[in-house]
């Protein structure tokens, strides 16, 4: 639960901080060494990649006109891709954006480079070391350089007549077909769904994984999910839920909070956010193991710039994900194009984060295979 506290504390600062001056970037430790001029960056595509492009790739290219960046939108396949490249002895990616769970696996497989965060990321403007600025809770793996905290949360349609004016505000409302009839959209994997089911079943957040380890706990979770199984569309891509909600196919669905933000604020759809029991996750960079020296220097030079306090804060102008540094939070301002305040849309905003949940990556690393088999078998029944 420490992560929650950190996230809340850092976003509380958001509200108190007034005008902050944009911070100048400092020179990276590898400056002056031989560097490659072409790098391939792997990311998720879509609005997220766009936010990276605007917040730090374009500014970096403006500072280094000789450098060219190739994008590869394969982050969803990052683990398999890096393993295949490693086996073929043909590494074509230089910097890869992955979720924390994938970073952990890539580190385990020896496919990502172990790093010392203080050598990769700049200290905060007030001199706090990068390790302290990111905090231990964010640095979940020895290979991981955090960028943002996002969350899995629910969106619902605000025009459902059958709901008689009720609005869902509790995770149990997802599983309540009587008060809130209609189709749901849930992700087609056990992560989060099992936890949400148990929390609805009365398990305290801090006990969720202890309960989920047991056969009875898993049965309890499936029993809760059974209530809505026939009324659920199971999504595999984060873009599915906003589309299903917008088309009226489902009335209630989970997805990444940034996707819902763009459906609600940018596209003005009749959708509302339900923040209760949102589940935090992290996303960040890994450096593939085995880069040659000049490329590695370029990647380090880029990372020094791209993960500094100001750049992470800038990213939040384009997408509603919380910057991973404590020192970035006070610098978060308004949406770059719409001019709306970003703070109320951040998963880390205190109003949104008062009942948030943090995924346990290490637990999932152990139980993923086992539970996924059970989950898929349950789905197929």
């Amino acid at each position: 639960m420490k992560l929650t506290k950190f996230l809340m504390a850092s976003s509380a600062l958001t509200l108190t901080a007034g005008l902050a001056v944009a911070q100048e970037a400092t020179e990276s430790p590898v400056a002056g060494e031989e560097m490659a001029n072409e790098i391939t960056i792997v990311s998720w595509g879509g609005a997220y990649q766009e936010s990276q492009l605007k917040a730090y790739v374009e500014p970096y290219l403006a500072m280094n006109p000789d450098v060219s960046v190739t994008w590869d939108e394969s982050s969803g396949e990052a683990v398999a891709g890096l393993r295949a490249q490693n086996e073929a002895n043909n590494l074509t990616w230089d910097l890869v954006d992955v979720t924390a769970a994938d970073a952990m696996r890539l580190c385990d497989e020896g496919l990502a480079m172990e790093i010392d965060i203080d050598e990769i990321a700049a200290p905060a403007p007030d001199g706090t070391s990068a390790a302290d600025d990111f905090t231990e809770e964010m640095l979940v793996s020895d290979c991981f350089i955090p960028q943002i905290a996002y969350s899995y949360t629910f969106g619902y349609r605000n025009d459902v007549a059958e709901w008689n004016g009720n609005t869902p505000d509790d995770i149990c409302d997802v599983f309540d077909l009587e008060t809130f009839p209609g189709q749901r959209a849930l992700e087609q994997r056990p992560h989060n769904n099992m936890e949400w089911a148990l929390i609805c079943d009365g398990v305290a957040m801090e006990d969720v994984y202890d309960v989920l380890e047991t056969e009875e706990g898993q049965e309890r979770a499936f029993a809760v999910l059974d209530r809505i199984k026939d009324q659920t569309v199971w999504w595999t891509a984060g873009a599915d839920t906003p589309q299903l909600l917008a088309d009226g196919e489902v009335v209630f669905g989970s997805t990444y909070n940034g996707r819902l933000f763009s459906a609600i604020v940018e596209q003005d759809q009749p959708i509302e956010m339900m923040w209760d029991t949102q589940s935090y996750d992290l996303d960040g960079w890994i450096i593939p193991a085995g880069l040659d020296e000049p490329t590695l220097n370029r990647v380090k030079d880029f990372l020094w710039f791209a993960t500094d306090t100001q750049r992470l804060a800038d990213q939040a102008k384009y997408i509603s994900y919380g910057p991973a540094r404590q020192s970035s939070a006070p610098l978060v301002g308004q949406h770059a194009e719409l001019g709306v305040d970003m703070a109320p849309h951040m998963p880390t905003n205190p109003d949104n984060a008062n009942n948030a949940f943090v995924q346990n990556y290490e637990w999932w690393a152990d139980y993923r295979d086992d539970l996924d088999a059970k989950f898929q078998a349950w789905l197929a029944q």
């Binding site: 969803g76 396949e77 683990v79 398999a80 393993r83 696996r105 580190c107 385990d108 497989e109 020896g110 172990e114 189709q183 087609q188 569309v233 199971w234 595999t236 088309d247 009226g248 196919e249 290490e362 637990w363 690393a365 152990d366 139980y367 993923r368 295979d369 086992d370 996924d372 088999a373 059970k374 898929q376 078998a377 349950w378 789905l379 197929a380």
Partner: protein, 585 residues
């Protein structure tokens, strides 16, 4: 034109074959003579012609060689390599060789965890694996079999350096000499090849090479000392591994690096086990060893790796963990194939998966049944269209043909996504049905995210593969046959069924094989419109390739699918006959 086939023998004119024959004939006619008939350049004619023939064959081979090589290199070899992973299991024996060997005499049925020797072996294996960072990879591999091993190994990799802390600290404090990396090197290494233990070096090299994947070497003119190896056997092994690794991988001379904790602990255990060890050395070395020996905490002689591992995590005393290491200790395993058939290879032997985890057999059956359904729908929908195409005037037929081909040329993703818009509950089809009053607003049909969606979308996508072969076969059926049948008194139906249909069967055969085999391996369409009940085995294979990284299981599932397709093809050949398949006239 005659009916006599024109075989090679009938071809007149200059071919190498004819030339050979003529040469023979000429030789016979001329009667006995001194030597073989000679070509213009003086070589025997026979040889010269053979050479010409060979050249021709080589040229033919050279013409097909690019394609042959291309197929071998880019298709056959990778597939064979991928399928081989379904039985490959070297990782366990390569990462934990001593542990696997120590488990030889232990069986799961003993009912208790193995003895100290296994924990001792695990310590030295795990230490090297943690240095090479391969332990987590193995943990991930074994976690497919027994949940929890992944974090157990990750944690052991971190904790293994803390084992025997008391002993290590005692040696450190006993004499300043131990803080000097060069002192260690002087004790354990020798510059004199005659005084070296080369067997030890060879063993350690072989072992460390497997785990690091690199050829490892000692610094020039340096060998493990035979004297040290005799007096301090454990330490010699541990130090040699350390020296090889430090020199080759980290590129530091061992004399400048602090030895691994495993070396320190080995020294403590050697000194405790052999009280006379210091006397094998002299001067400062003997002094430091004696001081270290005297400083050892009590109980070092009975040091228990078992206790150390259990203190780290009680799961190291778990029968399941050890049973899994033992069951998957071999270089090859049937485990993946068993998993692919909903069985599991576990420490007790082979057993069926619990019912709530069985999924693959269901998926295989579903894939076959749905592919057959899709093939049948394609025949039903495609046959009349092909008939129309074949019998309409050319101009109209061409327009229709474009309608058939247009979707064929459109991106698969676009077509699948279009079906999503059409089929969903708030989609075009349901809207029309509601508007027509056929279904009520509350009773909209569920046409997508289930098997129905997959069948509809895939039938549409695969339809051209049925229509095109059917059309080209029907084009060759002379319309006069049908007219003849009717003029002899057949009804329309009889004429079609007895005369026309049998002649179109080869087209149905070709189309069915194409559609069925394409359908069985389809991935994108079921993924997008199939929901949970309309996905195929290929979706699960993709999951194991890209998400769970269990490539062994993916390879096993793929192999089974390949064998199934080949078996069905064989069956088809037996029943229908593969000669009875035509892609055209």
């Amino acid at each position: 034109m005659t009916d006599t086939p024109l075989g090679p023998d009938q071809i007149s004119g200059a071919t190498p074959d004819n030339a050979l024959r003529n040469a023979d004939r000429a030789a016979a006619k001329d009667g006995p003579h001194d030597g073989p008939m000679l070509a213009a350049d003086g070589t025997p004619l026979r040889r010269s012609l053979n050479r010409a023939l060979r050249r021709q064959k080589l040229r033919a081979l050279a013409l097909v060689a690019p394609l042959l090589l291309f197929i071998l290199i880019t298709f056959v070899a990778p597939i064979a390599d991928m399928l081989f992973r379904s039985v490959e299991n070297q990782i366990v024996g390569e990462t934990l060789p001593r542990t696997v060997a120590a488990l030889d005499d232990w069986t799961f049925a003993d009912g208790e965890p193995p003895d100290e020797a296994a924990y001792d072996a695990l310590y030295s294996d795990m230490f090297l694996a943690a240095e090479a960072k391969t332990h987590t990879r193995l943990g991930g591999r074994l976690n497919y079999e027994t949940t929890g091993i992944s974090s157990l190994f990750r944690q052991a990799g971190r904790g293994v350096a803390d084992i025997g802390e008391a002993q290590i600290e005692a040696i450190e404090d006993s004499s300043e000499a131990w803080d000097d990396s060069a002192f260690w090197a002087g004790l354990m290494l020798t510059g004199d090849e005659a005084a070296a233990d080369t067997d030890l070096l060879a063993d350690a090299r072989a072992r460390a090479r497997i785990i690091s994947g690199e050829p490892l070497a000692m610094p020039d003119e340096t060998w493990p000392s035979a004297a040290a190896a005799a007096a301090l056997p454990r330490t010699a092994v541990a130090y040699t591994e350390f020296a090889l690794y430090t020199w080759s991988v980290d590129e530091d001379p061992p004399a400048e690096e602090d030895p691994w904790e495993a070396v320190w602990l080995s020294l403590a255990l050697d000194l405790a086990a052999n009280p006379d060890a210091p006397s094998a050395f002299s001067g400062a070395q003997a002094e430091a060893l004696s001081a270290a020996q005297a400083a050892l905490p009590p109980g070092t002689a009975d040091f228990s790796f078992r206790d150390a591992f259990l203190e780290m995590d009680e799961d190291w005393g778990s029968l399941d963990v050890w049973g899994t290491i033992k069951a998957f200790g071999g270089p090859y395993t049937s485990g993946y194939f068993l998993s692919a058939a909903d069985y599991s290879l576990n420490p007790e032997g082979v057993s069926a998966m619990p019912e709530d985890e069985q999924i693959y057999r269901t998926l295989f059956v579903r894939t076959l049944v749905m592919s057959l359904t899709i093939t049948l729908s394609c025949i039903l929908l495609g046959y009349p269209v092909a008939w129309l195409l074949a019998n309409l005037p050319l101009r109209t037929a061409n327009v229709l043909m474009i309608l058939v081909l247009l979707p064929f040329w459109t991106s698969l993703l676009v077509r699948t996504s279009a079906w999503k818009v059409l089929l969903q509950q708030q989609g075009v089809i349901n809207d029309i049905l509601v508007w027509l009053g056929i279904v009520s607003d509350g009773g909209r049909l569920i046409l997508i995210n289930n098997a129905t969606g997959t069948i509809i979308a895939m039938t549409h996508i695969l339809l051209p593969f049925m229509i095109l072969p059917l059309y080209s076969v029907m084009k060759t059926i002379p319309p006069s046959y049908l007219r003849a049948a009717k003029s002899l008194g057949a009804t329309d139906w009889t004429a079609f069924w007895r005369v026309y249909f049998p002649q179109s069967v080869p087209g149905i055969g070709a189309g069915s094989i194409l559609v069925f085999i394409l359908a069985i391996g389809y991935y994108i369409t079921p993924e997008i419109v199939g929901g949970t009940k309309g996905v195929f085995i290929s979706n699960r294979i993709a999951y194991h390739i890209s998400t769970s990284l269990n490539w062994g299981l993916a390879a096993a599932l793929g192999s089974i699918l390949l064998v199934l397709v080949l078996a069905l093809y064989w069956l088809y050949d037996r029943i229908v006959g593969i000669d009875n398949v035509k892609l055209g006239g």
